[in-house]
């Protein structure tokens, strides 16, 4: 990794990363991919997020579904931990709560494979800095 020496370097890196992200997000693109994020703050881990993550990585590979599974911080829904967010290309991310291994399996089979929603969706209830 070359060091960032000027603000222009940082802007360049940011723009590159953003366009890479945009490619992964868009609906019709060879590089688009399902992105799954697992809320792994202390509270998420304490309620079993690690098991869900391990299961998802293994199950998606076994079932030949290409996806990126990564960890993220606390999503804020402590009452519904573990929480995961699933983003299919071209769609807004959906957050599922109360995700144990069975639920994760259901999410793969129903939402990821067939676009059917499963119970436990947490609706967005906040504005971000951009809107």
């Amino acid at each position: 990794m070359t060091k960032i020496k000027t603000i222009a370097d940082l802007v360049k890196l940011r723009d590159e990363l953003q366009s890479k992200q945009a490619l992964a997000d868009s609906a019709d693109n060879a590089e688009s991919i399902i992105q799954i994020k697992i809320g792994m703050g202390t509270s998420g881990i304490a309620s079993g997020a690690k098991d869900v993550m391990d299961f998802l990585i293994e199950a998606l590979e076994k079932r030949n579904i290409e996806a990126i599974v990564s960890q993220t911080g606390d999503m804020g829904y402590s009452y519904a931990e573990p929480t995961i967010s699933v983003k299919k290309p071209g769609k807004s991310p959906i957050i599922f709560g109360y995700v144990n291994v069975q639920k994760a399996d259901e999410i793969i089979e129903k939402y990821i494979k067939r676009d059917e929603l499963v119970e436990g969706v947490i609706p967005v209830n906040y504005h971000t800095i951009d809107n």
Binding site: I4, G73, G76
Partner: protein
């Protein structure tokens, strides 16, 4: 457009980015604010911007952050320090932990900005060792920022150097107070000292030191990126921006929320929080942890900001919010917090060391039904003395739970003392289990389950509980199928 009650500014990246991957942060504009400060702004400009934003310290006190930075910048020394106070110790509060675990770069970036503004090259994060995940992610974040050249020497090709180290605390509540925190970092006992001198003059190792809370820092990069005038449009006249709360207790949607200052308690508890669990009745909400107070129904429509909460007899604190329902005994709640303060008092000054212990003993007496009416005046007098004479913020605020429950739930105290009854049914010493003879069929189930043999009676005859022996465990009541056992 739907109007939501929450705005995520501090939590903007939490739950969105992978905190262990700096590139995900950079893709969401991390370190752009630092770049802007170093390349386009003078340190005075940065301080001016923070002052104009109206940002106030999120650790509880609400001191204007820009002013704090200005004082530190004006004290000249060969070395100054920026300290991040991550010693979150209120029972039920987890905002700072979540920010550090979810978006560590925001805090690192803000500390560097502060360093640039006040002329410090060293940053220290004082974090409790009880937060291993936050420590791990901070370490990774610091290493990655150094690798990318976003911390270290000659940041953005300038002459500005900034390095950050971690300092671990053992989880003592008093070390959230800035002078204690500094002593603890120096390897001394975590005890407060009298201010002045303020840390901005003589802090860590005797050098000017600026201490801010995690959440305060987390607001800074966005203020620089979006401008003070964007930030100060959010919130109330005297409290700008948003506040993160850890909503806990008997509320349906327990969790981390971020609302603009000025949102009412009702909106937080009933709309965002989804109301009280199991359809019970709302009784009180405790804000500000052991330093705060209990607010009631009549405060529900008060807009939350620093000044309103103080006027209502509580305080913002760091943002813990514990909701209580009709089953919570307010005398016991006050006792719980006093128990915590007695445990956490460092013992340096007598009002806090002895006074809080005496307060606790009085409360204990009342919850046991041994109190007298004079105790209430005694509680009040002693609370005021402790508030006025304690050395640091811990003692100055520790009687707040007592005073606010005395103000708002006086009848409950009286019921304990005069009627020897706990209206919420929580104080074990004031409860008595009875068997209603008409309902009892003499099945002996209760007598068999009683662990201390307090229940006697012949088969098929009404049974009897000997309250001298009864330990009030409630096992009999659970077992009885005929609703024959009641609490009086």
């Amino acid at each position: 457009m739907t109007k939501y009650k929450q705005i995520r500014i501090v939590l903007n990246n939490c739950g969105v980015i992978d905190p262990e991957n700096i590139e995900e942060s950079i893709a969401r504009d991390s370190y752009m604010a630092l770049g802007k400060c170093i390349t386009e702004m003078t340190p005075q400009d940065v301080i001016k911007e923070i002052k104009e934003s109206g940002l106030r310290g999120r650790g509880g006190g609400g001191f204007p952050t820009g002013l704090k930075w200005e004082i530190a910048s004006k004290n000249h020394a060969d070395q100054k320090y920026v300290v991040c106070n991550a010693d979150e110790g209120d029972p039920g509060a987890f905002m700072d932990r979540s920010v550090l675990e979810g978006d560590p770069h925001a805090v690192l970036e803000a500390m560097a900005i502060c360093g640039y503004a006040i002329g410090a090259t060293k940053g220290l994060i004082y974090i409790r060792a009880e937060y291993p995940m936050a420590i791990k992610r901070l370490k990774i974040a610091i290493d990655q920022a150094l690798e990318y050249g976003l911390l270290g020497n000659n940041i953005f090709g300038s002459k500005f150097d900034f390095n950050i180290e971690l300092r671990y605390g053992a989880g003592a509540f008093v070390c959230g107070e800035e002078t204690s925190l500094i002593h603890s970092m120096e390897g001394l006992r975590g005890e407060p000292t009298i201010k002045p001198p303020f840390p901005a003059e003589k802090g860590y190792l005797g050098k000017p030191t600026n201490v801010n809370n995690v959440e305060t820092f987390a607001c800074v990069p966005i203020i620089i990126r979006k401008g003070a005038s964007w930030f100060n449009k959010i919130g109330t006249e005297k409290s700008k921006g948003t506040k993160v709360f850890a909503l806990a207790g008997k509320v349906n949607n327990v969790g981390l929320i971020e609302v603009p200052m000025g949102t009412t308690l009702r909106e937080v508890i009933f709309e965002i929080g989804g109301g009280i669990q199991n359809g019970k009745k709302f009784k009180a909400v405790q804000t500000g942890g052991p330093s705060g107070g209990c607010l009631t129904e009549k405060h529900l429509d008060t807009p939350i900001d620093f000044d309103n909460l103080i006027a209502a007899g509580s305080m913002m604190g760091s943002g813990g919010m514990i909701v209580m329902d009709e089953d919570n005994c307010m005398v016991s709640v006050a006792k719980f917090y006093l128990d915590f303060t007695v445990e956490e008092s460092c013992g340096k000054c007598s009002p806090c060391r002895i006074g809080n212990k005496r307060l606790y003993e009085l409360l204990e007496r009342i919850t046991k039904g041994q109190g007298v009416m004079d105790d209430l005046q005694r509680l009040r007098n002693m609370s005021n003395v402790i508030k006025d004479t304690s050395l640091c913020g811990l003692g100055q605020t520790s009687p707040n739970p007592v005073l606010s429950t005395l103000d708002n739930f006086y009848d409950e105290y009286v019921a304990h003392i005069k009627d020897h009854k706990c209206p919420a049914g929580q104080c074990k010493d004031l409860m008595k289990y009875f068997i209603i003879a008409e309902n009892c069929v003499g099945c002996t189930a209760c007598a068999r389950v009683c662990p201390v043999g307090a229940i006697t009676g012949e088969k098929k005859e009404p049974h009897f509980i000997n309250s001298e022996i009864c330990i009030k465990c409630g096992a009999c009541m659970e077992r009885c199928k005929f609703d024959a056992i009641i609490i009086k």
